[in-house]
Amino acid sequence: MIENELIIEMYKRMWLIRKFEEKINEYFSRGEIHGTCHLCIGEEATAVGSIFALKKSDYVHGTHRGHGQAIAFGTDVNSMMAEIFGKATGLCKGKGGSMHIADVEKRYLGSNGILGASMPISVGAALALKKKKCEDTVVLCLFGDGSSNQGAFHEAMNLAALWKLPLIFVCVNNLYGMSMSIDRSMSDPDLTKRSLPYGIRSISIDGNDIMGVYETVSEARSYVLGNGPMLIVENTYRHMGHAKMDANRYRTKEEINSWKQKDPIKRAGELLLKISAASEQDLVQYESDAAERIENAVRFALESPVLAIEKIADDVFAGEVVSDA
């Protein structure tokens, strides 16, 4: 029964992400949001399954395609929506936007606009946990397949293994970095091999199977606490273009459609029906609840003010920088 409730919660959260992303896409397409954004439609199970497997005390570092990860973490959708709309009520007062959704105090280390940068930072967070003797706490660092080509990835792997840190590396493999497929970007596209030279265990899983993701990360969580880091490759696909301007010239309609058949939300719904944890009617209800929640978030964002211009230079430094002796 507990398991049923868990799947229902994860199902609802995936819908919340999907509706969030669809709404953002709608406003972006109409040019009503300033900036860029990377949508994670199709990849929801990687975010929700991975993050639901953690404990409240754990830390997460997300990716540039991170709205879903932040929502999975439990970040308030009103303040996220307001952030993306550039409003003062946004999580970061409108100073960060889509690529910098973060809430460090609450242990969400943020998304990052620089590919690869999150990996050494996550190593440092895990190092701090070790130094502070936080025994039952881990860091989960998400990144894309394309980002695993950065030197930072390899430096972070080595340091994490060397210092035996409680760090789970999650590679969200959606087969592309922008337009470049993993076959064209990697000398050997088997991502699991990348951690082996560092003595780091790795596993490749179906990233659209919510329970599979959840269980793998749960096990990894226990493993890294005693044994040091681990790499999980979660295989998935993004349904939308890379960002605002993407005509999908590098992939075929057939390929996109075949992956839409493997939609993680649809699959989780089928699972719920199969185990009789929910009825068709329940599923429809969960979806419409999520849609309503997002409508409210949009309303909140639209009604919110922009930060007072006098505050533009606040937050550059902490405290008084020109100190007195």
């Binding site: 946004g90 050494p120 930072i121 930072a152 902490a318 020109v322 100190s323």
Partner: protein, 325 residues
């Protein structure tokens, strides 16, 4: 009073901080039994052990990032980069991460990290081990930049830097490490963002920092015999810059000579000159502003060549005489 070398003063600052605050730790390459490339941390491993004097692989991107990550979790890392020239390989972590995280995330967290970097020429180590890269960083909001010239200043400013909640770049001129000076034994801080008039004078304001302070002081001594009186302003902190002290000094002397070891074009001297021309001190100028800096060529190895690229006491004296004509 007791005398210490500049290197010993830096070690003492780190030691006092590490004794009183468990969250402060030192990280870098060969900082343990070797004592760091310039011997600054010699003996610290014995006192604090390998967890707090944490030796890293040759992995600047990895360990500077790890320092930042640990600072996000409220540790206070002191990270040594063996030569400031090597900061290029972790430029992203300094410029896009440490400097920006607070602002992007809406001011809810800070990054209390100190990055210590030996800089400067005079060792015959040639173009990749001799640079003075301060100005690569002064154009980045969110960084505090300090370059002390004496053992006394180094100790007080480093303690202030470690206490500060913001990212600090701490430039230590490698030819100063062996220089002796009076340093009180007790714990003391010096103000960040405040220049120090190292010698009062009436004819020319010399704005300088780091090792050049000493060349300017001996130039001042020699010029006195010709009846030219230099006021030597040691900036100590480049960001935030103590504009007031420079402006008031120029109003008094009516002339400005800027001396730094970094290359002239795009060097910090341009900023100092602009500070004066933008202020009321402009109307007090009796002659054009003069800059005495390294030539715009990579630092050569050969002693004769190197000497000719760098500012020397003779060049400073010639510049000062020119200003008096």
């Amino acid at each position: 009073m007791r005398e210490l070398t500049y290197g010993q003063a830096i070690k003492e600052a780190m030691t006092l901080e590490m004794r009183q605050d468990e969250d402060v730790f030192l990280m870098g390459e060969d900082i343990g039994v070797y004592g760091g490339c310039f011997g600054v941390s010699l003996g610290m491993l014995e006192e604090f052990g390998p967890e707090r004097v944490l030796e890293t692989p040759i992995s600047e991107l990895g360990f500077v990032g790890a320092g930042i990550g640990s600072a996000l979790l409220k540790m206070r890392p002191i990270v040594e980069i063996m030569f400031s020239d090597f900061s290029t390989v972790c430029y992203d972590q300094i410029v896009n991460q440490a400097a920006k995280i607070r602002y992007m995330f809406g001011g809810k967290n800070s990054v209390p990290i100190v990055i210590r970097m030996p800089d400067g020429a005079g060792t015959g180590a040639a173009a990749q081990h001799s640079q003075s890269p301060e100005a690569w960083y002064t154009n980045v909001p969110g960084l505090i930049i300090i370059a002390p010239s004496t053992p006394y200043d180094a100790k007080g400013l480093l303690i202030s830097a470690i206490r500060n909640d913001n990212p600090v770049l701490f430039f230590e001129h490698k030819l100063l490490y062996g220089m002796k000076g009076e340093v009180p034994e007790e714990y003391y801080t010096l103000p960040i963002g405040k220049a120090d008039i190292k010698r009062e004078g009436s004819d020319i304001t010399v704005a300088t920092y780091g090792r050049m302070v000493h060349l300017c002081l001996s130039a001042a001594e020699e010029l006195l015999e010709e009846g030219i009186s230099l006021e030597v302003v040691d900036l100590r902190t480049l960001s935030p810059l103590d504009k007031r002290t420079i402006i008031e000094s120029v109003k008094k002397t009516g002339r400005l000579l800027i001396v730094h070891e970094a290359h002239k074009t795009g060097g910090f001297g341009g900023e100092i000159a602009a500070t004066v021309t933008e202020s009321e001190a402009f109307y007090y100028l009796d002659s054009p502003i003069e800059r005495c800096c390294s030539m715009d060529v990579p630092i050569p190895c050969s002693l004769e060549l190197e000497k000719n690229v760098l500012p020397t006491k003779e060049r400073i004296i010639a510049s000062a005489r020119g200003l008096m004509k």
